[in-house]
Symmetry: C2
Subunit: 337 residues, 2 copies
């Protein structure tokens, strides 16, 4: 790759020396790093990372941009939140397949005058979450950015052969479930954009530090509970539509049963529209055959039945006895720019 400006090289090296690219750590990491579900045979410091998958497993791959001004704003999001959210997006995709994360790869382009403290904070947030899920950062790319901070995260995962939970397995009569509660992240974003003031991240953890539901996804896959699954990154209406489209079915949601998040750490539930259309909750949306026993809580996270899959290929929402079409709005209403 073309080398970025010297000042930027120095900046990335400073981060690297502490966290990622240190040559001394490379040799140590080369033949030693073992995660629960795969070995990193060669990490950072070669043309490719070399990984060994457990036998009898399929490989999961997901990539997600985190672009300044599109997915986050430096004025709104502290750097450790940006790093956390960057990795959380990828981990959540692994969770949605019922998989186990193996390794992450970060492509990171930085503008020349970015303060070193910002980069340190970003890496701190990302690596803290990586540590929590035992996901080594096994490689990536660095470059000078033409504009703003640009990150692309790749997460690799594994799942027993043929057992990945897709979006396409929903059948008419299946019940629709969601983990946790919805709309908390979008409500915080709405506050940020309306008031254009800083929010205290600790008071709005659903927005600033969302938790990917890895354990829950694995449980739903290993117990053969989920017939289809997706993570709610774009909003319930949009993501349910993805399941319906891929499965060739429709759905009816019951508005009164949808678990609504609260506005930050208050007890005030968010407006139903945030729960229906707000994105970035990173909860799991899944379907299960009606005869299946679905637990009401998995690893401390609630599980709620919110509707059922129908034969007619449209999505409706039933509210106060009135049935109306639910179109996928999702992120178009909740924008960063």
């Amino acid at each position: 790759m073309p080398l970025p400006e010297k000042s930027l090289i120095a900046q990335i090296r400073r981060v690297a020396a502490r966290h990622v690219f240190a040559p001394a750590q490379r040799r140590e990491a080369r033949h030693s790093r073992t995660t629960k579900n795969g070995d990193v045979v060669t990490g950072i410091g070669d043309d490719c990372a070399v990984l060994r998958l457990p036998s009898g497993h399929d490989l999961l791959t997901t990539t997600d941009f985190s672009l300044e001004g599109v997915h986050f704003r430096r004025a709104w999001h502290p750097p450790d939140s940006v790093g956390h959210r960057c990795l959380a997006r990828g981990l959540s995709d692994i969770a949605a397949m019922g998989g186990e994360p193996i390794a992450a790869f970060l492509s990171l382009a930085l503008p020349p005058k970015l303060p070193q403290s910002w980069v340190n904070g970003f890496m701190k947030g990302l690596l803290r979450l990586a540590g929590e899920f035992v996901v080594p950062l096994a490689g990536g790319d660095t470059a000078q950015s033409p504009s703003g901070v640009l990150a692309d995260i790749v997460v690799l995962g594994s799942v027993p052969k043929g057992k990945a939970v897709s979006r396409s397995g929903a059948r008419p009569g299946d019940r629709i479930y969601v983990t946790g509660d919805l709309g908390g992240s979008a409500a915080a974003l709405d506050l940020l954009s309306l008031k254009r003031k800083k929010l205290a991240p600790k008071q709005f953890p659903k927005h600033f530090f969302p938790e990917p539901k890895i354990q829950q996804g694995q449980f739903l896959r290993s117990k053969n509970i989920a017939s289809s699954m997706i993570d709610i990154s774009d909003g319930l209406s949009t993501d349910l539509n993805h399941i319906c489209e891929e499965s060739g079915v429709g759905a009816e949601l019951w508005a009164e049963t949808i678990p609504r998040g609260t506005l930050g750490t208050t007890r005030k539930p968010v407006d139903l529209n945030f729960a229906l259309h707000g994105g970035e909750d990173y909860e799991l949306l899944f379907t299960a055959r009606p005869q299946h026993c679905v637990p009401s809580s998995i690893s401390g996270t609630s599980v709620t039945c919110i509707g059922e899959i129908t034969r007619r290929k449209q999505v409706f929402v039933l509210k106060s006895g009135v049935r109306s079409r639910l179109k996928p709005h999702g992120w178009e209403h909740f924008r960063y720019q």
Copy 2:
């Protein structure tokens, strides 16, 4: 992911409908796409792609940015060249490990007013090269770009277990070899930046359409010839330094033996400095034990001995009988901005 502006969505969908994300193709692709070295069980259209590796193989992973204004300029590079070069960078990393590419993933962010024809050209160049190496585009991400075209390519590959050729296997006494010739790409870039005029891509194929050396890398790995290997993306002086650093050795290059590229399709050899420091040739640089028989050509590409590995941990170049230090200059001298 937050949805980009409607106009951009429409633009990406138009490309997608033809090339990548078409729902009709998704179902077809879901259980059908088989490449030489792995199955794409689930391609685009789910939270993750699901891939099946051949048994007894390790997984290779590489990610590379292609950012407008950093790695290419729209005024200099036609879109099919940008698409080709984007994927070539990733494939070349797989080649450098002696691997076989399995699948590619493209994260692509586009500015709102980019002409549709540019996106079509980009995808055409990328998919033409993907077709040549039978590498399915199995997923990725799309977004609105805050500035210019931003691409991040991920290439996954496979290699027989434990057989990946690393940068760290060079030993004192090993001979140093290079495939093809060097400096042709950087000389073209130099012309572009000095004259600030368009070049005819067909006359400068080494710069606009470099060929990753997949077959050559596999041959060198399968015949146990290469003791260490890297692709020349940053320039000979920089990439040889990587091998020396990772192997804990030094090197001596023989200037007169370094195969120099020509200026485009002319017969004029490029200046030695382009061959020593110019990047983006995507040839392979490798070392081999002195007793090994190294062919002078592999799959139609020449192989040339250009020096030897030494115990003393510095890199020298011998030119007209004079021995001088060769510092890694690489891309710092050949910049896009």
